[in-house]
Symmetry: C2
Subunit: 400 residues, 2 copies
């Protein structure tokens, strides 16, 4: 069977670990499988490279940073290919350029425009294992780009989509849980989850997969398996289409937690002023990812707020300051909040979930700030000190 395997940074942190994975892959190859192996940079390599860049400049040029960071994955894939060859398994490494990942030119958060798989197809047809560098691509002009957070997962899913095969993502986490088991030890591993729920869980910080990657899997119908690297038993989670999952009489599948949220609130402004549109346009130009967006009518005016990761707050502030009209509005910017999301496809057909969620918070005396809801999720920001209390109480309330 043709498949894409992806191994994260901690799974390939040492040469011993690379060799262990190579033995596993060589075995699958001997059994007749066609394999594309996507690797991240070894262990903390990427952090080390970023630290060097930051030692030189507070704001290193993003084109240069992308080219610098791309070297981490190239090192892993060449070593992995050597380890496979050493075992007598035909293998070939590929950089983002060689594996045909054409992206736009938004450095550090590039989007894939096209995956030109002809070279990979040729190598697979020659009976070789293809070891592809995750996280990286190249623009039409030949500049090296990176795909941003979770980029190697996106590489793996995009390859599986382009090659029409399944995708297995291996990390040091053994499955997707109802709640982060570090916070709530009674959490259950989910054998399967729908794309939609996984997206909500990801967007809300479950930390296993980036939303974008699940979105891509959903769009191309790529079945994802998430499990622990080299675990003998198959105990992980399959992410698949909602229709294929038997409906279970449970409104909530899981709770996800995201730390480090910045909340930006604008004081009430005139509806006709165009300020809200100006804010969105500014955010889009700055390539900042918004999470929660809230807007309420206050009398004749609009109260407007949104949240973004703390890491992007600096960029955002700089952009706001650069715009005289918007900075005149004196937005209130506060960092360090925690966002909790309660997720479940059952929510769409069960009533009273929101009432139950906010009832539990009230009982526990937990203040909540922004709230946003989708068909299958309810998210809100709280003070980080209330995180454990909120997760525990909600998990008990929904039987997770």
């Amino acid at each position: 069977m043709r498949m894409v395997h992806k191994y994260g940074g901690s799974s390939v942190a040492t040469l011993d670990k690379i060799e262990a994975i190579a033995r596993h892959i060589a075995g699958l190859h001997r059994d007749g499988h066609e394999l594309v192996v996507v690797c991240s940079a070894m262990g903390k390599t990427t952090n080390g490279l970023i630290a060097m860049a930051e030692q030189i400049s507070d704001a290193p040029n993003k084109r240069e940073l992308d080219a610098l960071l791309s070297t981490g994955e190239i090192q892993t894939v060449t070593l992995m290919a050597m380890a496979l060859q050493k075992l007598g398994c035909a293998a070939v490494s590929m950089t983002g350029f060689q594996s045909g990942f054409i992206t736009n030119d938004v450095h550090s958060r590039a989007f894939i425009k096209e995956v030109r798989t002809d070279r990979i197809e040729r190598c697979l047809n020659e009976g070789k294992v293809v070891v592809a560098a995750g996280f990286q691509g190249i623009t039409e002009d030949g500049d090296i780009t990176t795909l941003g957070r979770g980029g190697s997962d996106t590489t793996a899913v995009a390859l599986a989509a382009a090659l029409g095969c399944r995708c297995e993502i291996y990390t040091d986490v053994d499955a997707v849980y109802t709640v982060d088991p570090r916070l709530y030890p009674d959490a259950r591993a989910l054998p399967r989850i729908s794309y939609e729920e996984m997206m909500e869980m990801s967007a809300c910080g479950a930390g296993v997969l980036e939303t974008r990657c699940v979105e891509l899997a959903k769009k191309y119908g790529v079945e994802l398996y998430l499990g622990r690297t080299l675990e003998a038993e198959r105990k992980g989670t399959v992410v698949m289409a909602q229709e294929k999952i038997m409906f279970e009489d449970m409104p909530v599948t899981g709770i996800s937690i995201k730390d480090g949220c910045t909340i930006v609130s604008f004081p009430p402004m005139e509806t006709a002023s165009g300020s809200v549109a100006a804010v969105f346009s500014l955010i889009a130009r700055s390539h900042i990812n918004l999470d929660i967006i809230n807007q309420n009518l206050v009398g004749e005016k609009i109260a407007f707020s949104f949240s973004c990761p703390d890491g992007q707050a600096g960029e955002l502030c700089a952009a706001l300051k650069g715009d005289a009209a918007l900075s005149a509005l004196r937005p209130d910017i506060r960092s360090g909040y925690t966002q909790i999301s309660v997720v479940g496809v059952g929510m769409a057909t069960h009533t009273g979930v929101a009432a139950k969620v906010f009832g539990v918070l009230a009982e526990e005396g937990i203040s909540y700030y922004q709230i946003t809801t989708s068909e299958i999720s309810i998210s809100f920001t709280i003070d980080p000190c209330n995180k454990s209390k909120a997760v525990g109480a909600l998990s008990r309330a929904f039987g997770l």
Copy 2:
């Protein structure tokens, strides 16, 4: 003025050193110079990468090794570009692919087929300093290659040739000396040397520049300056055309020393047997660089020997063993010899140099093995224990 600067691994070994060079380059750029800066990998990076590859496999695949090693130079050039930008100097890094270094596909020792400078020219015209990764290229098929020993010097000279400008090569050595000053402290620095002499000195292990790089400079008339990185005074050596150097009444310009020579001797064989041709064909296929080649008639038979670097002796032995006919000849392979070369353009017009060389050796009681001569050099192998004695005696004899 347009120029290419090249900085070696020890010159860019730390971020502080990279930043110091960036300050120097930014100053030259402010003064209106157009600059291409070629960098090697930082310090011992390449050795570290090779060590990782060798931990995985005794004979790592060369295609994979090239891609692995290429990451070292990419790291340096991206960091150098960031350091320049931090100083307000417009700069752009380029990998071998981006700087248009098209090579053949002989991995680990690739030859440059073409340098497509349009992208570099465009960036120079935009007023940017171009920081180009040394040592690496790309095949027409998009595979990453490296240029072998001294590859970054070759990159610099090839760029200077393609851009029609001068080339300055900076290292931790302040000039080319008549003899290695570590061996013979009275050695003199040479203010200028001809391409031909430099080639002989290089081929014979002077260690400052690879022959191939000087050959390229000579072919395209690129004037080379060799000096110490960031030294205020210009005390280095200019390598230039022989015609431009005033003739000095001195037959010998310098002595170079190369350690780690393997001597391979075949017992006398039939002239008509084709064995010598078979040996050469085998060597060419194995991409081994021969140094001295000796052939003598012994009665009706041919006595044939050659030398190569110790590092290639393993490959050579493997190749010889793989050829039944040649291994039946039982060649005698001995490693660890030292090759001494006495070099000087004056030699062509002065007589008695060889007599003087071998007279000195006889006086000192030093045995010599293979001998080879060119228009401007006399080379021979000796036991390494006699190295200092031979160099001292010859330096005194020729007034170096």
